[in-house]
Amino acid sequence: MEAEGAFLGAGISLRRRHLADAIVHPEAVDFVEIVADHYFAGDARTRNELGAIRERFTVVPHGLDLSLGSAEGISDRYVRRLKSVIEAVDAPYWSEHVAFTHAGGRHIGHLAPLPMTFEAVDVLAANLERVRKKIDRPLILENIACSFDIPYSDMDEPAFLANLVERTNCGLLLDVANLYYNALNRGLDPHAVLAAFPLDAVVQCHLAGGHRAKGEWIDSHAFPVPEAVWQLFEEVVRRAPRLRAALVERDENLPPYAELASEAARARAIMTSPRTLAMGRAS
């Protein structure tokens, strides 16, 4: 499986507001994820910033807008920009979403859900093949947050992702919060959804906290990781043999760097806890 490798540990999604603190205290986290799209400008500021991050951290770039699920294909220009960021930070691997963000000449500006169909698996596999010809670092694919499914799909999300993995040999980035909130919004038991998830392929996890608004759970990345997500994460650690990294995401209500780092420390403790690992071996 692609992106398998040595244990990377626990990190954070690095935002510009934390950059100064992160540069002074790189020891607080094991690695950082950066949003690749934020570094496409290629100007002196972004080059210097990337250089400073690269000097201190292992960096995993995270793409937002490749639109791997677009039936009309992907942008070669976007792929070139991704490649330049991935190479600038010498990333061990990088990540993107199982989604589409543009179609019919429109840029949606957000990750949109794919129908869980065999045709969509074909499209993802074809686009992925095109990306692999240009970027020679492993890619892992993330499950998105969305409060609804496209009706009349051929399968559910775990089966869809299992198909995708089988077809492409890609590793998965399991966003535990996305899985949790998606399950709640559909009236499903998150632990049952997790049980069906292709955990053998999970290489990395995202952890975040959302909120409830107008009866829906929103994965807003605005709050600390809730206990229910930590519990699911413990289950993932026990059952995902290829898991090598986890990170805490925060995009709104940004707390101090130290607070995010302490959440990452909790993730690290879970990943390295002898009790968690022993339970995994026994199950």
């Binding site: 589409f100 429109r106 500006g109 957000h110 129908p115 045709e119 609804f148 009706p151 608004a213």
Partner: protein
């Protein structure tokens, strides 16, 4: 199903209030415009309007989060009012086409807000300052917006 046509229709529904209106009132016109077959149309019709509304709100929130990177002074001066001001404006506008949507959104929001008489003079000055910075950023990099 024809994924390409379906995605085009979905992209329109997610980003344009006109397309959402058409889906609710006369879905056949939407189907014709995007070349949807009967099954595609059945799928679109099966999407709940509440689910689409929630998605659109998430999209507005996302647009705000991304555009806010280019609006530091505006955020500081408007405080909590920034969320309401941006979201109200974003709901009445279409997601900018093409790449660099966040920068286009930031510039368009500033162009709208700099004339907003409900803002205090120092808030409008913050908006103008961010607008100048955003345009300077555009000129420093590779991308020149039109309009």
């Amino acid at each position: 199903m024809s994924l390409r046509e379906m995605q085009s229709a979905l992209a329109a529904v997610f980003t344009e209030s006109d397309a959402r209106e058409r889906l609710a009132t006369n879905a056949n016109t939407l189907a014709r415009k995007y070349g949807l077959n009967a099954r595609d149309l059945q799928q679109l019709n099966a999407l709940s309007t509440a689910a689409i509304a929630t998605y659109v709100e998430t999209l507005v929130r996302k647009r705000r989060g991304e555009a806010a990177r280019y609006l530091p002074r505006t955020q500081r001066e408007l405080g909590r009012g920034f969320v309401q001001a941006f979201d109200t404006w974003a709901r009445s506008t279409t997601t900018p086409p093409g790449r660099h949507a966040a920068l286009k959104d930031a510039v368009a929001f500033c162009r709208h807000a700099r004339h907003d008489r409900t803002l205090l003079p120092k808030q409008r000055e913050a908006v103008r300052s961010d607008l100048r910075e955003a345009i300077a950023f555009v000129r420093r990099t590779w991308f020149v917006p039109r309009g």
